[in-house]
Symmetry: C2
Subunit: 384 residues, 2 copies
Amino acid sequence: MDPRSVGVVETQHLELPGPLCLDSGRQLRQVKVAYETYGTLSPARDNVILVCHALSGDAHAAGLSPTPPAESTRDGFAAAGSPKGIGWWDGMIGPGKAFDTDRFFVVSTNLLGGCRGTTGPSSIDPDTGAPYGSTFPVITVADMVRCERAFLDELGIERLAAVAGGSLGGMQALEWATSYPDQVDNIVVIASTHALQPQGVAWNAIAREAIMRDPAWRGGHYYGTGSAPDAGMGVARMVGHITYLSAPSLAEKFGRRLQSGENLRYTLHEPEFEVESYLRHQAASFVRRFDANTYLYLSRALTYFQLDLEAAAERIRARTLLIAFSSDWLYPPVASEEISAALHKHGKTAEFHLIEAPYGHDCFLLEEARQTPIVRDFLNEGRP
Amino acid sequence: MDPRSVGVVETQHLELPGPLCLDSGRQLRQVKVAYETYGTLSPARDNVILVCHALSGDAHAAGLSPTPPAESTRDGFAAAGSPKGIGWWDGMIGPGKAFDTDRFFVVSTNLLGGCRGTTGPSSIDPDTGAPYGSTFPVITVADMVRCERAFLDELGIERLAAVAGGSLGGMQALEWATSYPDQVDNIVVIASTHALQPQGVAWNAIAREAIMRDPAWRGGHYYGTGSAPDAGMGVARMVGHITYLSAPSLAEKFGRRLQSGENLRYTLHEPEFEVESYLRHQAASFVRRFDANTYLYLSRALTYFQLDLEAAAERIRARTLLIAFSSDWLYPPVASEEISAALHKHGKTAEFHLIEAPYGHDCFLLEEARQTPIVRDFLNEGRP
């Protein structure tokens, strides 16, 4: 076993004692939360880092799963060389890593609305005894954070040394610092934004349309029918995947290479270019590990997210680390600059780091080595 | 009637006398071509400009159609202020315009594989008496140009003063100058490339997947079934549309404005943001005017297109005008620069103009006013 690995970690589950009140005005009862922890909780309970996953992640952020699913959350460009069952941010969490489990007690949950153990649209609605499907309430990033807050109460954790995440995970970190300013010492916001740009709203809408237009979606009630909107979710994943990568990185990895050597096959149905084949593979692999309704709900939540920067900067008390990647055109670095500027304007502590890296939005999952010293230094400097 | 309009123009049709031999080795018989002409053919037949349309265009490039279809080819951002039935490049073709019908005889055809009068997958296969569907041969840009060459033979036109087009239309212009170097005096290649970049290959693959994964596609044989893969083609169009526009232009036009004023409705199914509603509208309008199989075949052809720049630059004798747009991330300006450099290296006449404009790839349809003096000057200087 790699001494820098947290080892084999099994996902645990607990149920929140009370109902969860949502932004929409609705409530969820009997909410279950799937989670993992890495490292040791200090006696003073002051060394907790909450790590928040993005759209397609789960609670298994680090270490090896004792029961790895057939398809890993480490897919796409991150699949190369990854052992089976490894966590989606294993390079960042562990002894001596960015989120150093020799010092910190790192907690990772599956998001509210998820499909990997936490209550979501595929869960049983206690009021009906049947899966929610599209009767699951539309949720927001604030609802996810409310769920995380209630979950940490159950663990007896009041304060967080840090909340960290990339993309939708970074939105949760920002929301934590805004909603619970007195309970968060630091936030680490990577490849994220205070409000998705309109083009990103459009990409997410297209992905959701692809799912909802698949007849197998059945208005959201496909559980138990023996089929699922795999065709549409495959297209959604393809759209997502290309928006997560940069044009130069696709050119470098695939170029215009053909599947069958030198000659065109003059086929409409089959992939001709390697990148076409890669997309089909990504789609096929994703639909085996992810629920389409969860995709819809999390996509909706991340498009909704919109912090009023001035108001947020006034409320936030956490030291804030912002990391963005030069080639990330889905979550362009300018948003991180704007957040940093707003915080500085209100006299708050904020650091912005732009990493020159070619892999687009997925850099937050791929460029672990270059994020590590930035995160470590930031957390060290913030030590009381 | 606007004195700068070519007036009411009806699409005409003719049938090629012989079979059309294709790159795939297959042949097409009884090929029909839909076309329009604007201006007057000179007695010497030396004033002909062939205008080539892009993926979703048709033969009706200029003037008003006497029988306008319900949905215009001028859609998206180009729809604003456009009269019903107006041609897709009306701003460029007419008396005193870029392609000046006081001087030139402008010819526009619907592409081979099209769905607006020229033989394509929705046409009747003379061998079976039934529509081709996906038994239609896979075609290439060279096949399209071969069809245009055979069509012009029927009009008694040997030489072309110019071939012009944007996007897939520009590919045809490049192919003309390479395949028939002695028959083309000038080419005007706008927002185009000698080989689509891998990210563009991916977007096209995703659009085709969206169509082919729609059960109503039925392996390509949906004609006469009473349904069509509208759901999938709607998604394909949404993907295309967003790749044709730039992120800043979407931000400027839609921002993050909600459909229903100030408040979220917490709905999964209905558009919340204006840009979501716009996408649905674009999709609904496109499926009413365009055939899904044609989309597949033309998309395939444009991803196949790949000129060996060195070999092409050696062959090309036409004066070459290249125009690209700063915000076009689907057909980035660098390709036009590379074509220009290759032509210069081989001592050929080439001009490259980069237009700073915000609307992405669609600029070739939107920025008519700024293209006009460039094209006019280029064609004037080339006058014998």
